[in-house]
C-alpha cells in the first residue's frame, strides 16, 4: 500500500492506494470521480484523458503513485471553467456526442488543443484528435464544435 497526497480539482486529497493502481483507478474507485471514463485501459482510446500538472495525459497508463504532489484536473473540475463551458456549449450545438462515453476525454483534449493552437484549423483538430476514439463516429460534429469554440474564444479575446 502507498499513501499519495495530490491536488484534484483544486482540493488536496490523501489516498491510500495499491502500487499498481493507475490514476484512473484512484479517481474512479477511491474518489468516486466517475466522469473520467475508462475505455481500453491500455492507452489506446483516449477516453480517460485528464490534465496532469496542466497537460493532458491518459490516466489509465499513469501510475497513481507517481502523482504525489501533482495537480490533477478532471472533467468534474471543469464545471465552472469559462473555456470548457464554451467548448461544452458548442459540443451541444453541433451534436458532437451521441452516447457520451468519449466526451469527457474529448473535452479535456479539446481545451488543450485550443490552448496550444489558439485558432486551430480543421486539419489540425483532426490530427490532434487522432488519439481520441469515438465509436458513435461523431467526429464531424466534434471537429466542428472545437473549431467553432476556438473561433468564439478568439473573438472574446479580441474584444476583451
Amino acid at each position: 500500500m502507498v499513501e499519495v497526497t495530490l491536488t484534484i480539482n483544486g482540493e488536496e486529497e490523501t489516498v491510500v492506494i495499491d502500487a499498481r493502481d493507475s490514476l484512473s483507478d484512484l479517481l474512479r474507485e477511491k474518489l468516486n470521480l466517475t466522469g473520467t471514463h475508462v475505455g481500453c485501459d491500455h492507452g489506446a482510446c483516449g477516453a480517460c484523458t485528464v490534465h496532469l500538472d496542466g497537460t493532458p495525459v491518459r490516466s489509465c497508463i499513469v501510475l497513481a503513485a507517481r502523482c504525489e504532489c501533482s495537480d490533477i484536473l478532471t472533467i468534474e473540475g471543469t464545471r465552472n471553467d469559462a473555456i470548457t463551458d464554451v467548448v461544452r456549449r458548442h459540443f451541444h450545438d453541433k451534436h458532437a456526442l451521441q452516447c457520451g462515453f468519449c466526451t469527457p476525454g474529448m473535452l479535456m483534449m479539446a481545451v488543450d488543443i485550443i490552448r496550444r493552437y489558439r485558432v486551430p484549423s480543421e486539419e489540425q483538430v483532426r490530427a490532434e484528435l487522432s488519439g481520441q476514439i469515438c465509436r458513435c463516429t461523431g467526429y464531424m460534429g466534434i471537429v466542428n464544435a472545437i473549431v467553432a469554440a476556438a473561433d468564439e474564444l478568439d473573438g472574446q479575446r479580441a474584444t476583451a
Binding site: 502500487a19 491500455h42 489509465c60 497508463i61 501510475l63 507517481r66 487522432s130 481520441q132
Partner: protein
C-alpha cells in the same frame, strides 16, 4: 485490466536510483511509462519492483555546447515537439517527435524510455542512429560510459545496457544545416510504424546516414545506400534502387513482399525529401 502486483520505489536522487538498480537485479526502471504500463496492464511483461525515476532532476536538463547537444533521458517527446533545440538539428527532432503516438502520450513519454525499451518500430532509435548520436549510461560502481547508437541498439527490446546501468542522457552532434528526410508508414495515425526511414545527407567530412526501422530487429543503418549517396553522385536511380533493395533484404530477415515494398517506399521518399533541401 490490472498489472500483476509489484513493489514501487521512487528514489530521491540519481545515486539512490543507481544503488537500487545495483542491489536488485530484478528491478525495472519506469520513466514516463507510456509503453511499460500498457505492457504491464496487458501482462505481456511483468515487474517485481518498479524504480520510478520520473522525478529525478539530474535526468531532465539539456545542454548545447556548440558542438553537441546533450538531452536528458527524461525529456519528453512533447518538449521536443514544442521546439526544444529545434535549430541544432534543422527541425529534424521536432518533426520526428510530432509523429510519435498522440499528444497525451507525448506529454509523458520520454526520449530515454523510448531508447531503453528499443521497440523495433520506435522512432527515436532510427532518428538518433541517422544523427550518429550516442547515449551515456551510468552505474553505481563504474561511473559513466558512452555508447554509440550502433552498439547501443542490439536487437528488438534489447540494448547494450548492462544490469545496474541506467541511460542518463543522449549526446547528439549538432547538425544545424542538416538536409534530412523522414518517411513513415503506419496503419493508423499515431500507431507504431510498419516502416520508418530517416535520411541525413552527408556534409563535408560527415557521411550520409540512412536508417530504417519497422524491421524484425531494431533500427539499422543502410550501409550500401548511404555509401552510394556519398561516393557516386552520378548513380542512376536503378543503381540506388538496387542498393536499397539489397540493404533491406540484409537488415530485415524474412522480409515479406509487402514489407519490402513498404521499406523501399519509405527509404526512397526520405532520400528524395533530404535531397530537396537547398544546399
Amino acid at each position: 485490466m490490472k498489472p500483476a502486483l509489484f513493489d514501487y520505489v521512487r528514489p530521491e536522487s540519481l545515486s539512490d536510483a543507481l544503488a537500487l538498480l545495483r542491489d536488485d537485479e530484478g528491478a525495472t526502471v519506469i520513466a514516463g511509462g507510456q509503453s511499460l504500463l500498457p505492457m504491464l496492464n496487458l501482462r505481456v511483461t511483468a515487474a517485481e519492483k518498479l524504480v520510478d525515476i520520473s522525478r529525478l532532476h539530474a535526468l531532465q536538463g539539456t545542454n548545447d555546447d556548440g558542438t553537441t547537444v546533450s538531452v536528458g533521458a527524461l525529456v519528453t517527446h512533447a518538449a521536443i515537439e514544442d521546439g526544444l533545440h529545434r535549430e541544432a538539428f534543422n527541425g529534424l527532432l521536432q518533426r520526428v517527435a510530432a509523429k510519435i503516438a498522440y499528444r497525451a502520450v507525448r506529454n509523458m513519454g520520454t526520449l530515454g524510455g523510448s531508447l531503453s525499451l528499443c521497440d523495433p518500430s520506435a522512432d527515436w532509435p532510427a532518428c538518433l542512429l541517422a544523427l550518429d548520436a550516442s547515449v551515456i549510461a551510468a552505474s553505481a560502481d563504474d561511473g559513466e560510459r558512452e555508447i554509440a547508437m550502433e552498439e547501443f541498439l542490439v536487437d528488438a527490446y534489447t540494448t547494450a545496457l548492462e544490469s545496474g546501468e541506467l541511460l542518463t542522457r543522449v549526446v547528439i552532434p549538432r547538425r544545424p544545416m542538416a538536409r534530412w528526410g523522414v518517411s513513415k508508414v503506419t496503419r493508423k495515425s499515431g500507431a507504431f510504424a510498419d516502416s520508418l526511414a530517416i535520411a541525413v545527407l552527408g556534409d563535408g567530412d560527415l557521411p550520409t546516414r540512412v536508417a530504417l526501422t519497422g524491421i524484425a530487429s531494431c533500427a539499422r543503418l543502410l550501409i550500401r545506400t548511404s555509401g552510394i549517396l556519398d561516393e557516386d553522385r552520378e548513380a542512376t536511380a536503378a543503381t540506388l534502387a538496387e542498393a536499397i533493395r539489397e540493404d533491406i533484404v540484409e537488415v530485415h530477415e524474412d522480409v515479406t513482399p509487402y514489407q519490402l515494398r513498404c521499406h523501399h517506399h519509405t527509404v526512397s521518399t526520405a532520400i528524395t525529401e533530404a535531397q530537396s533541401w537547398s544546399k
